[in-house]
């Protein structure tokens, strides 16, 4: 029982980062109706910039800002080159273009920092907190906090601001939004930047809590983010959060009961089974 609860705690805290990644993917998917395969690599780009800066500066806040700025820069680059030109055209072109830039961003990052592993300043220097027989890392709590704060801020923006109305309008029906006088291109760009900022922050939190950064960060973030987005039902923001948390839980429990090799297998199996069964909440209408 104790193991179950501990695993659940671990799963939720890992799931918080997946949820954030899922939210980023879903925001971009919502306004653009496309999956951005460069999302993870942009996060990696930001994290690598921060790592490179960490050789000279140690302030965590500064490094976080650099990670966010780097990711937003990469994100805007991707949006302008891969998504804006294909807004009315075939979706495959945008996604393949974003894959091409994935390769570009990864290579740039590895040119900047060629080794397989780099240390990153710790998010928190102390040990985990104990609650009776359970322990929770402070870093994980910080990530959970960041996830909750992002959700609240996001909700506030979407439902209480003029910009939020424009975003929801574009997500609902881009053509109707255009006719209402909303500049869909400008809104999409800003949402893309916001999603990149969230991604950059998430990336920073992840590498700081693991105290290391590797070239796998790009692919890893992309996979986890897309899985979270799809598990929660494509296109739904609350779904992405639920999907991310669920993914964390599934991984934690699968790993405990079945071993590390099955951890990923079960997650993929669940996604495949959900897609095959197509429950209504999965929103399996044509994605573009």
């Amino acid at each position: 029982m104790i193991d179950f609860i501990q695993n659940t705690l671990d799963g939720l805290t890992a799931g918080a980062s997946y949820a954030l990644l899922g939210v980023g993917f879903t925001l971009i998917f919502g306004v653009l109706r496309r999956a951005n395969l460069s999302y993870g690599p942009a996060i990696m780009f930001g994290a690598y910039l921060a790592t490179w800066a960490s050789f000279s500066f140690k302030g965590l806040l500064l490094l976080a800002a650099i990670a966010v700025a780097g990711t937003v820069l990469a994100g805007v680059y991707v949006e302008r080159l891969c998504f804006a030109p294909h807004r009315r055209g075939p979706a495959a072109a945008a996604m393949v273009a974003s894959f091409a830039i994935w390769m570009q961003l990864e290579e740039f990052a590895t040119l900047l920092l060629p080794r397989h592993l780099y240390a990153f300043p710790a998010l928190y220097e102390g040990g985990p907190l104990n609650f009776g027989p359970f322990f929770v890392r402070v870093e994980s709590l910080l990530i959970l906090l960041a996830a909750v704060a992002t959700c609240i801020a996001g909700w506030g923006i979407l439902y209480a601001t003029r910009f939020g109305i424009a975003v929801r309008a574009v997500i609902d029906d881009p053509r109707a939004a255009e006719l209402s006088g909303i500049n869909v291109g400008a809104v999409s760009l800003r949402v893309f930047a916001a999603a990149s900022a969230i991604g950059g922050l998430t990336g920073f939190l992840i590498v700081a809590s693991h105290e290391q950064v590797t070239p796998m960060l790009g692919m890893w973030s992309t996979l986890k983010g897309m899985l979270a987005m799809m598990l929660g039902g494509l296109g739904s923001l609350p779904g992405a959060i639920a999907g991310g948390l669920a993914l964390g839980l599934i991984e934690a429990h699968s790993q405990w009961y079945l071993g590390p090799q099955f951890r990923d297998f079960i997650a993929y199996l669940l996604l495949f089974a959900l897609l095959a069964a197509r429950p209504r909440w999965m929103n399996t209408r044509s994605a573009y």
Partner: protein, 235 residues
């Protein structure tokens, strides 16, 4: 007010508009009739800036607008009520109106009040999700939303489509009211009978071209209807 000259719009190689020319006089109600596939919606979408014309010109109040994107057209004072309404289904009625007023930023509370007077049923349902409204209510919402941008020219694409006869009469009463209040209206309609009752001028479009223009008296009504291939439309 609106002058379209030799407009050509194509989908790839296929020309939907083959050189359309027409005029909408300020303060009038102008109606565009024609069979399905004639290009009426394409024309509306081109004027609204959603589609880009291949050639030709669209002049609104003496300035050329054919190259402007849709949101810029709205800021010039033209609003389109599209075919199929296109309301925002997951947003409430009130939020839909807010979206329509996007360019106006603030100070449109008065407009909403006035619209609720004009469309009392929308006021009742102001917190309801637009996707759950009936067809007639959605049509009213679409019109109200377009009006939120205080357009000088209101474009309407088939406002009576799929609506019950009583609702259609309500819609046309609203059109007449809007005209009285000074809005210029350019209207595409299948329902020739109702449209000719309110229009000052009408155009007939077939296969991408304007084939006739005149005022409602200049051609016998059933001649018009026949020419528009509409069959019997005594509503």
């Amino acid at each position: 007010m609106l002058r379209v000259h030799d407009l050509v719009t194509a989908y790839g190689k296929i020309e939907a508009l083959k050189g359309v020319s027409l005029e909408v006089a300020q303060g009038s109600i102008t109606c565009l009739l024609g069979p399905n596939g004639a290009g009426k919606t394409t024309l509306m979408m081109t004027i609204a800036g959603v589609l880009k014309p291949k050639s030709g010109s669209i002049r609104f109040s003496e300035s050329e607008i054919s190259a402007l994107p849709a949101h810029a057209i709205v800021s010039r004072g033209i609003a389109l009520v599209p075919e199929n309404r296109l309301v925002f289904p997951t947003m409430t009625v009130l939020e839909n109106l807010h979206a329509g007023a996007y360019q106006r930023r603030n100070g449109f509370a008065e407009d909403i009040e006035r619209l609720f007077v004009r469309f009392p049923r929308l006021k009742e349902r102001s917190e309801q999700l637009a996707g759950t409204l009936s067809g007639g209510e959605q049509q009213m919402l679409a019109v109200a939303r377009a009006l939120m941008s205080r357009p000088k020219l209101l474009l309407m694409d088939e406002p009576s489509l799929g609506l019950a006869p009583l609702i259609v009469e309500e819609i046309f009463a609203i059109i007449a009211e809007l005209h009285r209040d000074g809005t210029t209206i350019f209207l595409v309609e299948q329902n020739a009978h109702m449209a000719l009752k309110v229009a000052h001028r009408f155009y007939l479009m077939e296969q991408g071209r304007v084939t006739f223009s005149g005022d409602p008296g200049s051609l016998a009504e059933d001649e018009v209807i026949r020419r528009a291939y509409l069959g019997s439309s005594k509503n």
